[in-house]
């Protein structure tokens, strides 16, 4: 990779890339804008007036936000942890050995993300029915972790594939047993991939509606809360306030993850 310096960006490319990004972001700007509208139930354009009161309202007089927020955080956190464990195990197993059926199994592991969420949802739901498992936080987590595993698995498998096998042997050569090697060598090497996978898993879980609809009983996760707020608005700007809040709170972790994972790529690849 050299000589970027004399390669100027073709104009057409620049324009279509920027247009594409605008397409991605103008609706987001709208979400921001309508967190400040004076309307309460349904939105019109242009907004009749602007106010910051909804931030106060959301903070102090809408206690119904907190429970779903907490539940979503809880579900996403646990699903992500489960996904990290199971996804890493699967990635480690499938990248270290070749055995009959390995290809099939690797295909199986991407299935939950490749099949529409509604199928995952209904299938799990009917399984819960058959086995008389009552709905609970755990059924939601089970549903989410099922597709989160894939996200972590994908990230981890890609990193394992690039992990220089000699590092593991070098560690054993220097006296470290399997566990020590895992802790001191493998984990730091795949750490950034797990971080990236974990973040994406968390994001997907935190925002998942469809699978949740089928695997939740009475519990209201944040997206479910949002859905009912949007369909039957009480104070519609409050929904936007919550969305904006989530947006801002996640900005920094995403940026941090970006730099961390980049560093990982860098050092991961420099061993040659």
């Amino acid at each position: 990779m050299s000589s970027k310096a004399n390669r100027s960006t073709p104009l057409g490319l620049r324009i279509s890339a920027i247009a594409g990004l605008l397409f991605l972001h103008l609706p987001l700007a709208l979400i921001f804008l309508y967190a400040f509208t004076t309307e309460e139930k349904s939105f019109e354009f242009p907004p009749p007036g602007l106010t910051t009161k909804w931030f106060g309202v959301a903070w102090s007089s809408r206690p119904d936000i907190w429970q779903p927020l907490y539940l979503s955080l809880q579900v996403a956190a646990i699903a992500t942890v489960l996904a990290l464990i199971f996804g890493t195990l699967a990635a480690a197993a499938l990248s270290r050995a070749r055995f009959f059926g390995r290809e099939t199994i690797s295909l199986l592991f991407v299935l939950p993300i490749a099949l529409p969420g509604i199928i995952t949802g209904i299938a799990l739901r009917s399984a819960f029915d058959i086995m008389s498992i009552p709905f609970s936080v755990w059924t939601i987590i089970l549903g989410h972790a099922t597709f989160c595993i894939v996200v972590v698995y994908n990230n981890a498998v890609a990193r394992f594939r690039r992990l220089n096998g000699n590092l593991v042997e070098a560690s054993m050569d220097l006296g470290a047993n399997s566990f020590q090697t895992f802790r001191h060598i493998i984990l730091p090497q795949i750490g950034t991939a797990l971080l990236a996978g974990g973040m994406l898993a968390f994001a997907l879980s935190f925002d998942e509606v469809i699978v949740t609809t089928f695997t939740a009983g009475q519990q209201t996760t944040l997206p479910i809360w949002m859905l009912s707020e949007l369909i039957r608005p009480r104070q519609r700007p409050v929904t936007n306030v919550v969305a904006v809040f989530v947006f801002i709170v996640t900005l920094l972790p995403i940026l941090a993850a970006y730099y961390l994972t980049r560093e990982g790529e860098h050092t991961g690849g420099s061993s040659k």
């Binding site: 000699n166 042997e169 070098a170 054993m172 050569d173 470290a176 047993n177 020590q180 001191h184 061993s271």
Partner: protein, 339 residues
């Protein structure tokens, strides 16, 4: 532990991968303190041999002993053997110092002590002061030395090196060859060294094993294998050689056997030059001249076969000249039967 037992002993060791016999019934003793080189073409089993010693592979057949103790089933992390990997395999998430101290940390050596030891190991390879560098900031030669320090700090009884100089450019390689050699001499550790560069093997090793297709075809001192190759394969593989057919050898004062004749033993003389009694000769026409700096390589087509001679630079033969090739009969080395 017996002081008489070899550092490494292979007893009829075989290692197969599917249908490939990577190492095929190899028996070998490497003595303590030797600088032992494994030489052979790509895929001939050199790396597999090292991996068997390190414990990354287990023999399918046969036994390996290290200093008289069986290595059967002993995992790498329980062998007092260390490896310098071809690509160094430095841990990219650790500093130079942490890399070197890794083995000690695993052993449970305290922080202060292992930092001290890492420091002196780095000093030994002339990298004092590099402790806190990132490995990505090192040049190839520096990495190689870190890998060496990381292995040596554990005080191995056998050090395995798999083409450690392969990735370096010529000048750096020459310099590292000298450093390695003097380190080995001063530490007295057994070095087992894989290379595909014969010059390296010949100049550095006490003994060389030549591999071909998983088998050892010859073991001996560098001059053994260079000057007395026992097979066409060795003659051809180690340096360049003219291989004379039994007939040609017989009619030129040698034995009726496949015979090796090194190019540098052949002198180029005018067509009608006198031939000393102890020498053989052949007439031919110069077909190619290749300048190589210190020497010039001249190809001469004789009636029967093309011979290559190397002469000091500046010889004024030209393409198309008719010349006489003269060589001492003693320079013809007969090799094994069908070799």
């Amino acid at each position: 532990m017996s002081f008489m037992s070899p550092a490494v002993r292979f007893q009829n060791v075989s290692r197969r991968f599917g249908s490939v016999r990577a190492v095929d019934n190899v028996s070998l003793d490497i003595e303590p303190g030797e600088f032992f080189a494994l030489l052979g073409p790509s895929g001939s089993g050199k790396t597999t041999c090292l991996r068997l010693i390190a414990g990354f592979e287990q023999p399918d057949e046969g036994h390996i002993e290290i200093f008289g103790e069986t290595a059967d089933g002993v995992p790498p992390y329980r062998r007092n053997v260390n490896t310098v990997f071809q690509d160094y395999a430095l841990f990219p998430h650790m500093t130079v110092g942490e890399n070197v101290a890794y083995g000690l940390m695993i052993k449970g050596v305290g922080k202060a002590e292992r930092e001290e030891k890492a420091k002196s190991a780095l000093a030994m390879v002339k990298l004092a002061g590099y402790e806190s560098r990132r490995t990505a900031q090192l040049s190839g030669g520096q990495r190689q030395r870190v890998a060496l320090a990381r292995a040596l700090v554990n005080g191995p009884k056998v050090l395995l090196l798999d083409e450690p100089l392969g990735a370096l450019d010529l000048k750096l390689r020459e310099q590292m060859q000298e450093e390695l050699k003097s380190l080995q001499t001063s530490l007295g550790i057994t070095f087992v060294f894989v290379t595909h560069d014969q010059g390296e093997a010949l100049s550095m090793a006490n003994r060389v094993a030549i591999f071909n297709e998983g088998k050892i075809v010859q073991v001996g001192t560098p001059s053994d294998v260079y000057e007395r190759p026992t097979s066409r394969f060795v003659a051809d593989f180690v340096g360049s050689s003219n291989v004379l057919s039994p007939e040609f050898a017989a009619t030129h004062g040698g034995r009726a056997a496949w015979t090796s004749l090194r190019p540098e033993k052949i002198q180029i003389a005018p067509q009608n030059a006198l031939v000393p009694a102890a020498c053989a000769h052949a007439k031919g026409i110069v077909t190619a001249i290749s300048y190589q700096g210190a020497v010039t390589r001249i190809t001469v087509a004789t009636e029967k076969l093309a011979l290559i001679a190397t002469t000091p630079a500046g010889t004024d033969v030209r393409k198309g000249d008719s010349v006489s090739l003269i060589w001492p009969k003693s320079a013809m080395v007969a090799m094994g039967e069908g070799a």
